[in-house]
Every structure is written in structure tokens, then in C-alpha cells.
Symmetry: D2
Subunit: 397 residues, 4 copies
């Protein structure tokens, strides 16, 4: 057994570091024994767009916190109350930490577990939401393992598809959740705001579920190219043309059945205002782009933002065009995705080769732990890669 744990930690805004920490224990953040927990040897652990909120300093976390909430790993140690997993199992970790025992978990709402975060009903690894250490590391402690972990049925088969399966921990189910909240189904027309990794997963998930016209909007040409090459229509938000006009040019009507905001409050304007921050821009655009009776998913993160310019936004209040939208009978859903709601089914779709376009659309790149700090900087500049850290060099080239 290893006796240390090399990990990516938050030092300061714009400053991630790789440090050597202690090997994790079967213990809760408050030090209580965790007979329901396991230790994982990490096989793949991705850098997520929401890690950039921490990197930039807009989501404050304690110095020294281990980063990372998108983990796939192998069980190396089990608590006494873990019954249905065994050593060597290869598993995907849902980024939400969830007990499986509270009212919300019983109702499949693991993204708002009532017990794993003492402050708000929402916990995550590597995110200052319940003091859970992250998994951009060699090893990770996972509580409530029997409940939480998704076991791959065949390890060898899974290692062959690990670049795709690594997305099950967060962004593929998260993106899918956005579409479900927006009411997407076979034949729907869909607008996807933002072609970062989650938005690109949204486009891939929209293809999987049989959406008809899938339109993706972004500012980065290389991201949009990935979309265009894989069956999507694209909108360049640098163009000084209203979004609904651009949609109409593609679709024949100025709005879609379902629209999802994969951007959040670090949004910019459109056209001549593309350089300006406009925290409510993305959410107002997706509301505007949704047809009467359609629905809107808000996957992009909103919240009290200490770096926002206005006091209102610092407290989590945004100027929303809800009065404009009201006549259209809008339905708007936000919040984190309950990964467990979707990860098994999406795993099945990947294992049966129903998403052959996934790696292409995501543009996944395997890196080492030591490469991670640089990858944060590259990703922050809007690169079209999805970085997967391979801490033990286990992923085949």
C-alpha cells in the first residue's frame, strides 16, 4: 500500500500546486469513523469548468484543499459496512457526495443531500461544500460507497473506453440533466449556450437522445468547429446579430423547444458587447431563445459571487428578464445535477457504442498530475481540450 498521496491543491487564485499529502483514511471530514467508506486508487480525474471558478477566485476555498470532483478509480480498501463492492472494482464517483439515507437521497435527489454538508444541502468533493477533499490525486476517500459508486461490469472493456467513461463522474450526466430539465426528447430542437466541455457534452447528449436540430453558441472558433464536425449547427456569438435572429436563420423560426445555459454567471455579452462581462446574459439569452411552452435548464453556476461588480450580484441577485418571458409560460430549472440519476444509463450507452462521437466532440487529452497546474491555465484561456489527469499512468495511449 502506498504511504503518501500526491495531489493538486489550491494555493492561491491562479496558482495550483502538486503536493505530497498523507494517504487518506476511512474517516469523515469531522474525524468520525466511516465503515461505509472506501479508498480508491485514482485512474482518471478530470479538470472541470467549475474548477475554474476556484482557480479564478470567484468561488473561495481554503488554501491547501485538494482539487477535483470528477474521479474514476479502483477500490483498494473497504470499510466494514461495505458489502456490495470488492477490492479491485473499477468505479465511477458521482461528484455529489451523498449519504443515501436522508429524505432527499431517498428521493433520488443526491445533489441536495441533507447530511454531507453541514451548511447547505449540497456537497461535492474538492469544492468547499462539506469539507470533502478532492480527487485530483493518487488516492481518494469516498463515503457511503455501496450507495454512491457506479461499478463498471467489465474492467478490461472499461479501460478501453476510459476516456469516455471518465466523463460519467460529472459532465456527461450533468449535461444530460440540463437537457432533461429543458424537456428535451427525440425530435426536439435544442439551443446549447456555451461550447466548453459541459456544453459539448450537452451537444453529444442531445445527439444521443435523438434531438433534431442542435444549435451551439460560443465565442471560440475551435470549439465551434468541434461541434460543426459532429452534426451540430453553430452560432458565433462574436457576430453582432441578435441570438434569436441567428436561430431563425438556421431553423426557420426564432426559437427552440429547449434551451440550456451551460455558461453561468461568468458570461459575456453578444456581438459588440462580447468583451464585456454580463452575469445575467446567458440565462436571459436562453430564456429568450426558448419557445412558448418550452423549458430552460440552467446548468451554468449562479450564486453569490464575491468578485461580481454589483452588490446585488455579490449577494446572488440578478436582473432577469422573467417579466418578458412570463407570457410564454416559462419553466426554468437550476442547480447541480443528481449524477446517480443518469450515470448507469449513460454508461450503458457508451459500453454499447451509442456515442461514437463523444471523444471527438470532447477532444479529451490525457495528462499527468504534474501537468495539471499548467492545464488549468490553458483551460482558463478557453482551450477546446478536456483534460483528464492520469495520476498513475494507467490509461493506454
Amino acid at each position: 500500500m502506498a504511504d503518501g498521496n500526491r495531489a493538486v491543491v489550491f494555493a492561491n487564485p491562479q496558482d495550483m500546486q502538486v503536493e505530497n499529502l498523507d494517504f487518506p483514511k476511512l474517516e469523515m471530514p469531522d474525524g468520525a469513523k466511516a465503515p461505509h467508506g472506501v479508498i480508491l486508487k485514482i485512474v482518471a480525474t478530470n479538470i472541470c469548468g467549475s474548477d475554474l471558478h476556484i482557480y479564478r477566485g470567484s468561488f473561495p476555498v481554503p488554501q491547501g484543499m485538494v482539487m477535483g470532483h470528477e474521479m474514476t478509480g479502483q477500490v483498494v480498501e473497504l470499510g466494514s459496512d461495505v458489502t456490495f463492492l470488492k477490492e479491485g472494482d473499477l468505479v465511477s464517483v458521482p461528484f455529489n457526495v451523498a449519504c443515501g439515507r436522508c429524505r432527499n437521497c431517498r428521493a433520488r435527489r443526491t445533489e441536495i443531500c441533507e447530511t454531507t454538508n453541514p451548511d447547505v444541502a449540497c456537497a461535492a468533493y474538492g469544492f468547499n461544500l462539506g469539507n470533502w477533499q478532492g480527487g485530483q490525486a493518487e488516492y481518494l476517500f469516498v463515503p457511503y460507497a455501496d450507495f454512491q459508486l457506479l461499478r463498471f461490469p467489465d474492467k478490461d472493456q472499461a479501460m478501453e473506453k476510459i476516456r469516455d467513461l471518465a466523463l460519467l463522474s460529472d459532465i456527461l450526466p450533468t449535461a444530460f440533466h440540463g437537457l432533461m430539465e429543458a424537456g428535451a426528447k427525440p425530435g426536439s430542437t435544442v439551443y446549447i449556450a456555451g461550447a466548453g466541455p459541459v456544453g459539448r457534452c450537452g451537444a453529444a447528449a442531445a445527439r444521443l437522445l435523438g434531438a433534431s436540430c442542435i444549435i451551439v453558441g460560443d465565442y471560440h472558433k475551435d470549439r465551434l468547429d468541434l461541434m460543426k464536425q459532429n452534426g451540430c449547427e453553430t452560432i458565433d456569438l462574436n457576430e453582432d446579430v441578435p441570438l434569436t435572429d441567428q436561430i431563425e436563420a438556421i431553423l426557420g423560426e426564432p426559437m427552440v423547444d429547449c434551451a440550456v445555459d451551460y455558461v453561468g454567471s461568468e458570461a459575456h455579452g453578444i456581438g459588440r458587447e462580447a468583451g464585456d462581462m454580463d452575469p445575467a446574459h446567458a440565462i436571459n439569452q436562453v430564456m429568450d431563445a426558448t419557445r412558448p411552452g418550452g423549458a430552460t435548464g440552467i446548468i451554468g453556476v449562479y450564486g453569490p459571487d464575491p468578485l461580481a461588480e454589483s452588490k446585488a450580484e455579490q449577494e446572488g441577485t440578478f436582473p432577469l428578464d422573467f417579466g418578458k418571458a412570463w407570457i410564454k409560460s416559462p419553466r426554468i430549472s437550476g442547480g447541480q445535477a443528481p449524477i446517480m440519476h443518469y450515470n448507469r444509463e449513460l454508461m450503458m450507452a457508451i459500453l454499447w457504442d451509442r456515442m461514437p462521437y463523444l471523444s471527438d466532440m470532447l477532444n479529451t487529452k490525457i495528462i499527468s498530475l504534474d501537468d495539471a497546474p499548467d492545464a488549468y491555465a490553458t483551460f482558463d484561456k478557453g482551450a477546446s481540450d478536456k483534460f483528464i489527469i492520469d495520476p498513475h499512468g494507467l490509461i493506454p495511449a
Copy 2:
């Protein structure tokens, strides 16, 4: 056959008048023939809280428009393509005008019919939404009658319960819709913002569907008394105590499963700010009062409001605490209710005596057409009555 049509018309803000108009024809607002339409002799036609938006001038309508969108009546004339109704049938008119033939109507979304309002996909009688004359009158033209009208199975039985059945045209199904959008079901805890007639119908509907703790908040003591006497908990919003604290005092936790805003943008603050207009107050309060994973219905009307103080609100933009709520995975739904989705089932509940508390909670008062202008003024001051106009003196005392 009558040759005139006495009706309540909008003259100016704060000034409704009774005028003698021409008997209606089987014709659309643009003059086209309407073989699918009928003429109704009105039996009951209610004054609605949303009529007050017109009365106050915040929802502009043309001078001379006939008011009213909550009608119950008797068929007196039928177009050549009306097959399933016959002269003498007593029917309830859903306030949404809907063709039954467009994409949205086919999908049961009659509140956003694509054809009955040339401007936005949302039409209503007496509301400057598609140029439909209202029904606070002796007679009314209704298009697409076979599709739209709800026929009462037994006319005599219906006349006995007409005070309750008259609510099927709008506020009872509307209130029920708010609860459905908020995910209410047997055992749910519910917060109802506003004890006007729609909010009171919301409380009654919550009882019907088996909600557990039903909490109603308002500023008017007599409205709250109607609620307290009929199985609800109440919150006096004049008290200078945060809403969530008041909920906690009743329920043991500071939030409910489902919350519905029955107020809209003509809202006031709470406690010391109860006298001040605060257009986003009600919506922010219901978001705040909803537990993580709960849902929020926005039945109160929002929209571009020419009388609002700020330019943003004039255009329909409101400062919403969506960033505060995001971590709770909120689902927020707004818009008009598709009455046809609910009116038949609610009629059945009334006919089988499952809402014996309804009249008590609503405090219905029957008036004549000539009493209507005064009733607007009384209602505008926050009276706890629900006014039902009986233009022909047909309702038994």
C-alpha cells in the same frame, strides 16, 4: 332573441362603465366567419384580480373594450360546424381563447395557442390579448366551441352549485395549476403567497389534493380569517419577522415543499416595508420559502409594466434572487394556466361534494351588472369578497 348586449366596458383607469352594445355575431375579431363558434347567454361572470391590472391602468387596453374573462353561460346560437353542443347547454368558458388546432393546443397547452392572438402566443377574453371582447355582459361570442367549452352534465344540479362552478372558468383551475407547477401532492407542505381570490382558491385546491400543512400569507386580516376558519395556517405579512422564521414557527423548519406566488409584480414588502411597492418581492419570497429540491409556481402576473418605477421593470426585467436559490436546485414555472387541463376534473370534485369549504373560503357575492363598477372599486381596496355578476338575474339566492 335579444337585440342588444349590456356590458361592463373599460372607459379609463379607475372608471368602468355599463354600456349597451350590439348583440354579438358568429365572427372572429378580424371579421371572418366563425362556423365553429357559439353565442352564450351569460349566467355568471366574475370579476378577477387580473381585471384590477386593467382597472389600475398597469395593463393597457383600448377604451370601450368589454371586460371579463370568467364566464359561465347557456348556448343560444350555434355555428354550422358545432356538432357536440346544443342549444340550452350550460357551459363553462376557459378564459384562454384556444383554437384546438395548432401545435400548442394539440399538446394541451391552450394557454399559449398560436393562432388566437396575432401578436404573442397567448389569448384571453377581455384582455387586449387578441382583440377578444370580454364576458361581463349579457351575451358573449365564443369561437372553437366544441373544443373549448366544458358542458355541465345536469343543468339543474349545476345551477344549485353555480357559485362554485363559476370558479371553473379561471381562478380555481389557475390556482390548481400553480400547485401542480410547484409539485404539490398529498402530504406536501405548501406556502401560498397572497389571500386574494386566486390565493384562496389555491388554499382550497391544496386541501382538495391532500396537502398537509397549508400556510397562507397576506396583509389583510379578514382574508386571513377566512383561511384560518377553513383548515389553514396563516402569516400576517405586516409583522416585522422574516417569512422563513414565521414558517419555522408553524412547521418546525423554515421552508415548505411547494410555494406559489399568487401575487405578481404589484407586490409589497414585509413588516416595516409592507407599505412599499417591491415588484420582485413576492417571487423572491416564494423562492426563499421553498426547500431544496422543491418547486415554485408563479401564478401572479409579471410582464413589462408601464407603471413601474424603474426602466428595467418597465421592460420586464426584475432583480431575482436566483443566484441565492441556485444551490437549492430550484424549479420555477410561470405563465397563465391551461384551464382545459384541469376544469373537468375540478368540476367532478365539486359535483361530488369534495370541496364543501369552497364557498366559505372564497366568500362569493352575487351582484348585478349595474353593481359591477362599484364592485371593482371595493375589490381594489382589498375586500375579501369574490364578486360574481349575474347579468340576467338567473342565480338562485
Copy 3:
């Protein structure tokens, strides 16, 4: 701590006995340690209609098995991995034994837990489904306690309503599930086949959820009287008139929106054939009574029945009128109810006094452990009581 455990055990068909057994341990049926389990001191444990299948011998169980699957009790001992319960908590036990960790439990389908019964994916206490001892006893071992148990928020308040709350372990949520599977909602017309305790709970649940016309059919006059006195219509199945004609006489049309079979394969015919066993009678009647587009719930138990007359029925094959029903677009759902899906909400409805008619409709009678064998015989004759065993004399008169 007690050192024994008096319990009702199955000796032979028609022969239940009270025996003194060992105090239960925190151990699974196969002897494995159960750190996730608790021991309960039983406060209320009911005799269920499905216990009669065992009593009559049609559902074979091993000699000496402790009977009972409807338990309410107090936590007296906790395993090392029970975190969210504490000694003294008063809890309701869902009759389904469920691990909370398998694919089905994660999807809220606790009635088909994949791990708690090695043979079929369906486990229950006191039922030879997974070797779980029953709870008609002084004490009971419950595994996966944090996940499974429903804690009453206030013990004193709960003891005052214990006759109603004791129904949460099985028959009230089970009955409610039947209505959900049948698509019941406010305003629905409902037919309830069978006025035994589950059927009577079905009628009570239909009232709770706002059904309009609730029709109950049975052969026993005193059972039907309980229904008639509490807001239901009734049909005496001894009358030699087709069911649909009797429904039409009440409702004006020969069918209902939703029908639920609360009888199962120990059914009899109607009218002149009321004395004859006819295993598919109840299910065929509810299919026949359901309107086109309506749905049918099959809560009554069907299965391979060793006591059935025909070989087909012994193997679980029944002559169903599915070809007759097909043109009506039937939806038919069977199986055990996932209690955890409903018990918290129904508890809330009881605690907030929304089912004041429940005790009346159920006609609950509190008995001692020693009275239980006789109560089985009385119940088997069609008594209109619901027997609740109070092993420690804790229930106030």
C-alpha cells in the same frame, strides 16, 4: 434489556401460536454481521390480509417462522454504522426489506430490492421472501436502518395518533400505490374492488387525494357500511347485476377513470356465482370497469398458487380478458408497493389531520400478542376490523 422475544409463529395452516424465542441479534439471515441494523421494541404490529394467504396455506412458509410485516417500534439497539437514528426514536418499518444500495433501491424501487432476497428480487418480513423473521413479536431486527426507517418527528404526538400511523408500514401506502398506478388524481372517478383493510385504506386514500366519485365493491354488508358512512358509494357483489351496470346506476356511465383490484387471486364471482372461487375474477372486473384510456392497479396478490384448482393457475397463468380490453388502451400495473415512496407524505397528512375519517373507515382494534391467533381466525371470516397487536401494552386506550 429483555432476554427473550415472545412472537406469533406459523405452526400449520389455520394454526398460529405464540412462542418464546431468543432476543434478536444484529445479524443478517445468513448470519453475517449487520452494522447497518437496529433492534426495535415493537409498539404496534398489525395483522394484514396478506398474512391470511399464509394462514390458509396458499403461500407456503417454513414452520416456526415469525409472522408479521406491519411494524411500528422504538429503537433500542443500534449497529456501528447507524448514524442518523438514535435510541428511543419511534419509527415506522416499511414492510419491504431493502438495502438502499442496489440498482433498484437507488431508483426508489425498494419493493424489488436486488440483494435482500437471494431468490427473487422482492423481500419482506415474515413472508418467506428472503428468510426475514416477522414482527408480530416483542422485538425485531431491521437491517439498513438509516435508509429504511421512517422516524416520527414528535414521539408524544405520534403516540396519540398511533392507530393511524401504524398503517404506514404497509396498507395505507400500499393502497395509495394502487391508486397512483391507476392514475388517480383530484376529480377522478374510482372503483375499489374489495373492502378489506387495504381496500378501505384505498377508499380513504382516494378521499385524501380528492377523487370525486369513489365506489367500493364487496360482499360483506358491514364492510360496505363503513364505506357508506364515510363518503363512498357502494356495490353489493351478491347482487346478480353486472358490475358495469351497477357503476352506471351510480355514475351515469358504466365505467370509471381508475380501478384498483385490492382482492387478488382468492376472488369469487359476482351475484349467483358469489360463492364460487374464480381466481381471475377481480382482475377481469377491474379491467372491465376501467374506461378507455384509464388505468388499472393490481394490488391484490397474484402468483403461482399451490392450492389453485387448475395446473395453469398453480403455475401463475390466469385467463385474462386482455383481448377484450386491448381496444381501450389499457395500462395495468401489479406488484408490491414501494412503501418508502409514499410513507413520509402520508405521515404528514395524518399528522396535520387531513384524514380524520381513517380510523372510522378502518375500524381498528387493539389486541394483545396472546389474542393474535384468535384474531387471525376472526379476520379470515371476513370481519370488518383491522387488528393491531400491542405486544407491550403501550398504546393508550
Copy 4:
């Protein structure tokens, strides 16, 4: 305007004939005027598996009835109350005749329209269900045209994809409905009983909606080959191996999430019994193949069958293994599909090229009206073609 109407009519079992009839009128079957109707010039009209029930004589129809219920055509004449269609529009006709005005149509249940068939609440063209003439003809009368018809947005684009779009009238939405009733979603494992045209559409629809493992069972090698070449697993039912064993060999477990019966009561046994009729075989097989908690769709037609051997089956009673399935919490849905529920979205999926495999899987073959009688005989022998009649020679090669 044409003055005659050449059409395929039923002469006798095994004997279809092409006859010259009168040009249709805007009249209902009872002779009443139909201002809501249109006359279509037929562009494509398919032979359906359910037409074979008529061909074989198991579904009796009057001599001389025009066959056909799968029509695509061009509007050539409009009634006075048709507002939203115009001459020249190319439209798809849902096979269900539906008024759009009754309780069921208002609730989107057009397959059980209460008014278009005086006998049972279920009407169809060319099917002795309401006396509607079929559309295997040059021209067709369609009532309630504004409500019923699906207009293709661009006629030229539509003519290019007409082989696929012609399936929207029945079998593609019907197949999709079966999957919806079986609860299929992205990642589901699916078993499809029967690789006739509807079953093949089921496999194609399962691909569209992102199902993972799609298994199709049939007796005809060439039908199975079409499936294997297009991303499905196949089971040859001539093999003398239980179905669940064959599923296990493919999937690693002996059952699927969702199973759909696309066969109906003209089923055969498996393996050595493959030559024998066994009317309940298909339905019992799909119930058996469905996992606990899964759902089963019954698209294959069941009903009183005058040609069945047993009296029970003649009356519509079948020996179903419901007692065997009950412990698995089955949900079983049957009946015709409400085409309008799905056809618009599936049209969008086709127009945006999301089903490139559809023509391949269906193996569509265009024939003339005069070829139709022979095509019935060929199809009856189990050919792997889907025949589309092109009465006016309008479909490009």
C-alpha cells in the same frame, strides 16, 4: 379535378381488388356535411401488418371497403371550416380518426376518440372501426383536418425524404409509442418481439432515442439480417433455446429493461414449437423477458378473434403468465398508438437526418396501385419489404 377514385378494396379473405369508385365527398360516414374536412390526393399509402389481419379474415370487414390507413397526401379540396391548411399542402394522416373535440382527444388520447366510431371509442381508416373508407386509393376524405393533419414545412424537401416520412402515418409513431409505454430512454436495454415493419421501426426508434443494447427476435433470417446490419443484436426464434437464455448470452443477464410485443395474437411458439400458433406466446415472452421494475408495451393487436381455436380466445380471453410476473412489479400497456402524440417530433428527427438507417432497416419498396393485391400476398408470407403504394406515380425513384 378527377371524377373517379381507383382504390384497393377488400373482396374476400386472401382477395384484394383494385376498383374504380366515386370521387370522395366532404361528408361523414353517416352522410352529414363535414365543413371541417378536406380531400387529399394520395402521394404515398403503405400496406401495414395490421392490414394482414383483414386479408386473412381474422378481422372481419364489409366487402368493398377501401383498405389502407397509412396515408400521405396533398390537399386538393377544403371544407368551409378549415382555416390553417391550404390547397397544395403536403400532409401526413394519422391513422386514428379523431375529432379533437371530445374528452379523450382534448387529453391527447386520439387513439380512443369518443365520437368518430359509434361502437367503441377507437376509429381508424380502412378498418371497419367507424365506417371510414381507407386510403389505398387515389383520393381520400379526411375529417377534422385542421386538428388531425401534420403539414410538412417544405414540400420539396419532404418529397426527397418521402420514403421515410410516409412512415409517420402509423408504424414509426406506433413503434415509438410501444417503446414509450415500455419506459425506454437513453441507455435502456430493449427487447423487440417481431421484425415485421413495425418491429423494425421499433428497432430504429430505439436507436433514435439512444437505447443501449437493442435485441430483436424473429423467425425470418432476412428480416433479422436487416437488423444485424443496422446496429441491433438478433435472436432466431427457430432455435430451441429459451428466450431469456438467449438474452443472457447477449447481455450477461436474462432480461431487459423494456420489452415490446410487436406481434400480437397471431403468434407462434419458440424453437420446436415455432410452427404452432400460440396466441398468448408473444405477450408472455415479453413479460418474461422484462426485468423486475421494467415495463412492457403491447403494440401487437389482441382482441376477440373469430378465427381463434378456443372459445376463450374468440372472446378475447388469453392465458397470461400474470401471476408469474406479479412479483416483478410489472407494468403492461396495450392499445393503438395516439399518432399525433409523436408524429411532429419524429418528422423533425427525419428532416434533420437523425435516422439515416431508417430506409435500410425498413427495406421500403415503392409499388403502383395495381401491384397492391400481389404485394399483400407477398407480405403475408413474411417478406422483409415495406410496401409503399404510389397511386399517381409521384415518388421519385
